[in-house]
C-alpha cells in the first residue's frame, strides 16, 4: 500500500510536467499578448513599435517560449509563481486572497448537495418505479438541465427586484465591517443564499441520480438477497449493507469533485460579483495574464492529481476486495 502510494506520487511528477508544458504552450499560442491587451479596449493610445518591444522586454516576453517556460519552471520549483502582469502583485497572494470566497461558496454548496443527495438517491432506489422515484427523477433531470446563469437572473429579478428580499450582488453589504458580530454574519449569510442555490441544484441532481444508480446495483447483489432471506430487518439491511456499499463509488466521485471546490464557478462568480478564484481566472485569461493563468492551472492540476490518488486510496480502504501492490 505504502509502496503503491509512493509509486503513484512519483508518477505525478512527469504528469504534472506534461500538463504545465501543454498549458504554457496553449496560453502562449492564444492570439494577443498582455502588452497589447492591457492597452486595448478602452484606452488604445497608439504605441510605437519601439515602446511596444520595450514593454515586451519588461515582462520578459521577448524570449522564446521554451526559454520562458524553463525560467517559469525554475521559479515554480521554489514555489514562486511570479507576479501578475496586471497589477504586479504576487500570484500566490492574489490566489490566496480569492480562495476564501470560493471555498465558502463551494464547500457550503458541496455539503448541502451531499447531505441532500445521498438520502434522496437512496430513497428513490429503495422505492424504484414508485411515484416518488419517477417524479423526483423527472424533477431532478429538469433541474440538471436548467442553465445556471438563466436561473440566477430569474432569481435575481424575483427575490432581488420584485420582493426586495435578498441581496443580489457581492459577498457583503457596503459598510458591513461596521456592523456587530451577528449582523455581520447574517449579512454574509443572506448574500450567500442565491449563489449557493444556483451552484447547488445542478450537482444535487447529478449526485442524487448517481447515488440512486449505485444503490440499485447494490440492492440487486446476492448478499442483499441473502440478508433479506435470513430475515434481517430492513433498516439494518439498508444502513449496514446497502448504504455502506453504495458509498464506495460515491467516494471515488467525491475525490474527483474535490478540485472543483477551489477552482470556482466562472459564470456564477461573475453574475453575483463573487470575488472568487473563478472570477480571477476568467479575468486573467482574457487579459493574457500568463503568470496568474499558469499559477491557477498548476494548482488545479496538482489538486486533480492528488485527489485522484486520494480517491484511489480511499477506495482500497473502503472496499477490502481492492488491494494495491
Amino acid at each position: 500500500m505504502l509502496n503503491y502510494a509512493i509509486r503513484r506520487l512519483l508518477l505525478l511528477i512527469p504528469t504534472l510536467f506534461g500538463i504545465t508544458v501543454v498549458t504554457f504552450i496553449v496560453i502562449n499560442l492564444a492570439p494577443g499578448d498582455p502588452v497589447e491587451l492591457i492597452n486595448r479596449g478602452e484606452m488604445d493610445a497608439r504605441i510605437s513599435p519601439a515602446a511596444y518591444h520595450q514593454m515586451l522586454h519588461l515582462y520578459g516576453l521577448d524570449e522564446p517560449v521554451h526559454v520562458r517556460y524553463f525560467t517559469w519552471l525554475k521559479r515554480v520549483c521554489t514555489l514562486d509563481f511570479g507576479t501578475s502582469f496586471l497589477d504586479h502583485r504576487p500570484v500566490t497572494q492574489k490566489i490566496v486572497e480569492r480562495l476564501p470566497a470560493t471555498l465558502w461558496l463551494n464547500v457550503t454548496s458541496f455539503l448541502i448537495a451531499l447531505v441532500l443527495a445521498v438520502p434522496l438517491g437512496l430513497y428513490a432506489a429503495l422505492r424504484q418505479h414508485s411515484r416518488f422515484d419517477k417524479m423526483g427523477g423527472t424533477a431532478l433531470y429538469v433541474l440538471y438541465s436548467l442553465p445556471e446563469f438563466w436561473v440566477a437572473l430569474l432569481l435575481i429579478m424575483f427575490f432581488g427586484v420584485k420582493l426586495k428580499l435578498l441581496p443580489i450582488n457581492g459577498m457583503v453589504s457596503i459598510d458591513a465591517r461596521d456592523l456587530g458580530f451577528f449582523p455581520y454574519w447574517w449579512d454574509r449569510f443572506v448574500h450567500m443564499i442565491l449563489p449557493t442555490f444556483c451552484l447547488t441544484y445542478g450537482s444535487l441532481a447529478f449526485l442524487s441520480r448517481f447515488v440512486r444508480g449505485s444503490s440499485l446495483e447494490v440492492i440487486r447483489q446476492d448478499y442483499i438477497r441473502t440478508a433479506r432471506a435470513k430475515g434481517l430487518d430492513e433498516t439494518r439491511i439498508i444502513y449496514t449493507h446497502v448504504f455502506r456499499n453504495t458509498l464506495i463509488p460515491v467516494l471515488t466521485l467525491l475525490g474527483l469533485l474535490l478540485p472543483t471546490l477551489i477552482s470556482g464557478s466562472i459564470i456564477l462568480e461573475s453574475i453575483f460579483s463573487w470575488p472568487g478564484v473563478g472570477n480571477l481566472f476568467f479575468g486573467a485569461v482574457l487579459a493574457r495574464d500568463y503568470p496568474v493563468v499558469m499559477g491557477l492551472s498548476t494548482i488545479t492540476a496538482v489538486m486533480v492529481l492528488l485527489s485522484t490518488l486520494i480517491a484511489d486510496l480511499l477506495y482500497a480502504w473502503a472496499d477490502p476486495r481492492v488491494t494495491y501492490r
Binding site: E42, L86, I156, S273
Partner: protein, 555 residues
C-alpha cells in the same frame, strides 16, 4: 493616438479614459434621451451616490491605470493640472491660470496654484508634476498609453516650485491636449519603494475633492468627501463604486435601487427602460462619444487601389437602413474621420447617398465588367471577389456585413465575410493584411489624424492600415498638427474631409451614442461633450435630494 474597437458599438467595454473636451462647437448633443438638465433645487450637502463599475480596478495609481473604470474613480481622487469644462473650454484646476504658449509654439508655460496640497497636507509642487511625467516616460514602467501623448515633448523645465515649462521638439498643436492628460501624483509618497507594487497604488494620497476610504477587492470602492480640499468642497458625503460585471444584473440592481447610474446596452435602452416607473426615477442621458464605425479598404489590393471602386462600394452600402434596422434610429451617419461634434468636422459635407445604379456605373467606368457571364465582375482575368473581415462575436458587425454583401451580389461583386477572433483580427489589421475590414475608431478630442492617414504611417509604422496615400492630404495633416489657431486649423481639416469624401479611403458609416440612465434624485449633473464624467468637474459637485438612508454617512 486613436483607440480602436472592432465596431465600437459592439464592444461592451468602452467609454474612455482621461479624455476631455477640446473646444467643441456644440456641447454633448442629445439625440433622443432627455439630456436637458433643468435644475430647480439648490445644492445640499450630504448623501451617497452609488455608481457601477463594469470591472474591478487593478490600481489607483494614475500612472499605471489603463481602463475607463479606473479613470472614473481616479477623477474624484486626483485633480488635473488643466482640463476642459462641459462646454469644451480649457480651465485651470491645479494650474493658477491658463497656459502661456511662446510665439514659436515650442514652449508652453504653466503656473501652479500655491495653495493646493495633497490629501496628507503636503503642498503640490512642480516637482510632483515632473516626477509624474518622468514615471510616465520611464521605459521600465508600463504607461505607454500615456507616454504616447508626450512623444513630441523634448523636456520639462521646472524653474521654481510652482512653474512648469513644457518644451516641445516641434510646433505641435495637440500639445495642450497632452498636458490635460497629465494628472500629477505625489512624489513624497511614490518616490520611495518599488513603484509597480507600491502600497499607495491601492491606498492613494490624492489631490481631489474625494479620498479613498475603503477598497473591498472586486466588491466595491468607497470614496468620502475630503474636507481639507483646497478648492470648492464637494456636496456628497460619499461616492460608492460597486463592481457589477454582468449587464443584466446591473439593470436589476438599478431597478432595485442598489445603483444610481450605469451604462446601458442598446437593447436595455430601447426595451427595458421605458416603463413610467423607470422614467420617473431615472433620466436617460445619451451623448456622442468621439468615434465612428467604418470599413477600411486596402488600397494596395487589386480592387480598392482605384478611388472609383471605393466610392462605388460606399454607394452600394445602405448605411441609412443600418441605422434604422440595427440601431432603431439611435445612430448618426458620418461623412469624415472627425468627431461629429468637433469644430474639425465639416457639417456641410454630406454622407454619400445609397445609390446602387451610380455605384454600378462607377464600377463599369473603372473597368470592372462581367466578361464571362458568371455574374461576377472581372478585369484582366481578375475576379471581383474579396474578403471582408469582421470581428467574431459581434452580431452588429455581421448584420452590417450582410447588408453590404447582399447589395454587392446584385451588383456583381462577391464578398466573402470572414469572422475572426479579436486578437487575431487586430493582428491582421495592424499588419495591413486584409482586403477590407469593418472597424471602429475611438478618437481623442484633438482632431489630429496624422497617425491614421499620413502615408508615412502605413504598417508597421502606424495606423494607416489601408495604405491610403495622397500627397495633398499628407501636407494638410502635417500643417494641421502645427497650426495653433483653431479657425485656421479647422479650415485645414475641413479640406481633408472634403478630399476624403471624394476618395473614400474608408466607407465612413456612423457614430452611435453612449447611453446612461442616471437617477433623478441626483442634481448638478452636467453633460459635457463626452457625457456626464469626462470633463472638469464631472461628477465631483453632484448633490442629491434628502437622503434615503440606504447607506450611512461617514464621519
Amino acid at each position: 493616438m486613436r483607440r480602436r474597437a472592432g465596431l465600437i458599438t459592439c464592444l461592451a467595454l468602452f467609454a474612455l479614459a482621461a479624455g476631455c473636451g477640446k473646444k467643441t462647437e456644440t456641447g454633448g448633443q442629445a439625440s433622443t434621451g432627455d439630456s436637458t438638465v433643468a435644475e430647480s433645487s439648490t445644492p445640499r450637502d450630504g448623501g451617497t451616490v452609488i455608481r457601477r463599475l463594469d470591472s474591478e480596478c487593478k490600481t489607483l495609481n494614475w500612472v499605471l491605470y489603463t481602463t475607463a473604470y479606473e479613470n472614473f474613480v481616479l477623477r474624484h481622487i486626483y485633480d488635473p493640472i488643466l482640463d476642459y469644462d462641459e462646454k469644451g473650454n480649457m480651465v485651470p484646476v491645479l494650474a493658477a491660470a491658463l497656459p502661456e504658449v511662446s510665439d514659436d509654439h515650442l514652449r508652453i508655460t504653466v503656473r501652479l496654484r500655491t495653495d493646493a496640497h495633497w490629501q496628507d497636507g503636503t503642498p503640490i509642487t512642480a516637482k510632483d508634476v515632473k516626477f509624474t511625467l518622468d514615471k510616465v516616460r520611464d521605459p521600465k514602467i508600463p504607461a505607454i498609453n500615456k507616454a504616447a501623448y508626450f512623444e513630441k515633448l523634448d523636456h520639462l523645465e521646472v524653474p521654481d516650485d510652482h512653474s512648469l515649462v513644457f518644451v516641445w521638439k516641434e510646433a505641435f498643436a495637440p500639445a495642450l491636449f497632452a498636458i490635460t492628460q497629465l494628472w500629477p501624483i505625489p512624489e513624497h509618497v511614490y518616490g520611495k519603494g518599488d513603484f509597480l507594487t507600491h502600497p499607495a497604488n491601492r491606498k492613494p494620497v490624492g489631490s481631489g475633492p474625494f479620498r479613498l476610504d475603503e477598497w473591498v477587492s472586486s466588491q466595491y470602492l468607497s470614496l468620502v468627501r475630503y474636507d481639507g480640499y483646497y478648492g470648492e468642497k464637494a456636496h456628497l458625503d460619499r461616492i460608492i463604486f460597486k463592481v457589477v460585471e454582468d449587464d443584466a444584473v446591473a439593470l436589476n440592481m438599478l431597478k432595485a435601487g442598489e445603483l444610481d447610474e450605469m451604462r446601458a446596452t442598446q437593447v436595455q435602452w430601447e426595451k427595458q427602460m421605458n416603463d413610467p416607473d423607470f422614467g420617473s426615477r431615472f433620466r436617460k442621458v445619451d451623448y456622442y462619444f468621439p468615434g465612428y464605425n467604418f470599413i477600411a479598404w486596402n488600397c494596395r489590393s487589386p480592387w480598392f487601389s482605384d478611388k472609383r471602386v471605393r466610392k462605388a462600394m460606399t454607394l452600394l452600402f445602405d448605411r441609412e437602413s443600418v441605422n434604422t434596422k440595427i440601431y432603431s434610429g439611435f445612430a448618426r451617419l458620418v461623412s469624415g474621420p472627425f468627431y461629429i461634434n468637433s469644430w474639425a468636422y465639416d457639417k456641410t459635407v454630406q454622407p454619400l447617398p445609397f445609390d446602387p445604379p451610380a455605384g454600378k456605373a462607377l464600377l463599369e467606368a473603372a473597368g470592372w465588367k462581367d466578361t464571362n457571364g458568371d455574374g461576377i465582375r472581372d478585369k484582366a482575368g481578375k475576379k471581383f471577389e474579396f474578403e471582408l473581415n469582421i470581428i467574431s462575436g459581434s452580431n452588429t458587425a455581421a448584420q452590417f456585413a450582410q447588408l453590404l454583401q447582399e447589395e454587392c451580389t446584385k451588383a456583381g461583386v462577391k464578398i466573402n465575410i470572414r469572422q475572426i477572433e479579436g486578437a487575431t483580427f487586430f493582428d491582421r489589421i495592424d499588419k495591413g493584411d486584409f482586403d477590407a475590414a469593418m472597424l471602429g475608431w475611438r478618437l481623442d478630442l484633438d482632431p489630429d489624424i496624422f497617425d491614421t492617414f499620413h502615408s508615412s504611417m502605413t504598417p508597421p509604422n502606424g495606423l494607416n492600415h489601408g495604405f491610403y496615400s495622397n500627397p495633398i492630404v499628407d501636407s494638410l495633416l502635417v500643417a494641421g498638427r502645427a497650426e495653433f489657431d483653431q479657425a485656421r486649423r479647422a479650415e485645414i481639416y475641413h479640406r481633408v474631409q472634403r478630399i476624403m469624401a471624394d476618395e473614400q479611403p474608408y466607407t465612413f458609416i456612423n457614430t452611435v451614442p453612449d447611453k446612461r440612465p442616471i437617477a433623478r434624485k441626483i442634481h448638478g449633473v452636467k453633460i459635457g461633450p463626452l457625457g456626464p464624467y469626462d470633463f472638469w468637474p464631472g461628477a465631483n459637485y453632484w448633490w442629491i435630494d434628502e437622503g434615503d438612508g440606504r447607506v450611512a454617512a461617514k464621519p
